[in-house]
Symmetry: C2
Subunit: 163 residues, 2 copies
DNA sequence: TAACTTGTTCAAGGATAAATGAAATAAATG
DNA sequence: CATTTATTTCATTTATCCTTGAACAAGTTA
């Protein structure tokens, strides 16, 4: 089962250790502390520390106070909506923003091209890129809705089993 | 501009050279051959060969016959829908399928757990995973529609201001 | 058939990212 | 405050993936 999370992590560009740690918490019936994670996975303290830091930042784990223990205990976030939202906010939006800046810079460069037909071609390609970016932006809220398991706003289709 | 494609490639887990090659073709007003790509980017023949192979497989470049030349010439695929479709088919669907197999295997293992409460917990977590997988499956056609720029089936605009 | 063109394959080298573990830091306890 | 405990930092090692370029195969020309 942990392997599933390691693969999922790899798919979205996160290191193996992060998939392992989240998977470990996901499988456990109880909150785990630092040392338990280290021991169960057999990975280094450094990896656990860094992995938990990233997972906290993503909102993929929650800290859980356990009375009688000084250690921090962790629970996995089980809401896919919150997981996806955290990932988009932390790993995706920054790319989109820097991409927008870059396209704006390119726009200026294109305007400065001397040869008219060359400029025209570059302009057309740039416009295509801008369209693509607009579509990606449009996709984010839709993806959040679908992955969050929320009812779609457009419920055109009737249930399939009506006769 | 090519840099944009290098970053986009990295974002979806493809090597730098592939982003460069596609970007090079995307920027060029004319189809380019093998040697032109190698010369303009200053990368090795091996990288160009492998990169073009992957891009062909993804459907991200099209071969274009140029009379009077023995060389293969390439044009970039400019339809985002086809680009996305190729990517999903080649890089995404395989993961989804193997994931489904893995979950099925886990289902058997969970059924074999002796302790009842432990089994119950594992079963609940497995179900959550299965729900997540179902949602990802559901997302694919939606993503294709949005990224492809096709008119949505729904009359209502989804809220564009999330995130 | 020899020489040349075009493109692919693959072993070796290189670059990059992740894991490690010891030392430093921070926090709680007696 | 000294001491024990908990966590982070960071230089180093390790692992992985990418790139390179020479050798190779297939097709073409003279």
């Amino acid at each position: 089962m942990i392997d599933s999370f390691v693969r999922a992590a790899a798919l979205i560009g996160l290191p193996r250790s992060i998939g392992e740690i989240y998977g470990c918490l996901y499988c456990s019936p109880e909150p785990l502390d630092f040392d338990q994670i280290e021991a169960r996975l057999g990975i280094s303290r450094g990896s656990v520390s860094g992995g938990l830091k990233t997972l906290r930042q993503l909102g993929a784990v929650k800290m859980h106070y356990v009375s009688g223990s000084r250690k921090d205990h962790y629970l996995p976030e089980l809401s896919m909506e919150r997981l996806v939202r955290g990932f988009i906010k932390d790993q995706f939006t920054p790319h989109l923003e820097s991409s927008a800046e870059r396209l704006a810079a390119i726009e200026d460069q294109v305007a400065a091209i001397g040869d008219p037909s060359e400029r025209q071609h570059a302009s057309a390609r740039l416009q295509t890129l801008q369209t693509w970016q607009r579509r990606v932006r449009k996709l984010l809220p839709v993806a959040l809705t679908v992955l969050g398991g929320l009812p779609s706003l457009s419920r055109k289709e009737p249930p399939a089993d009506i006769i």
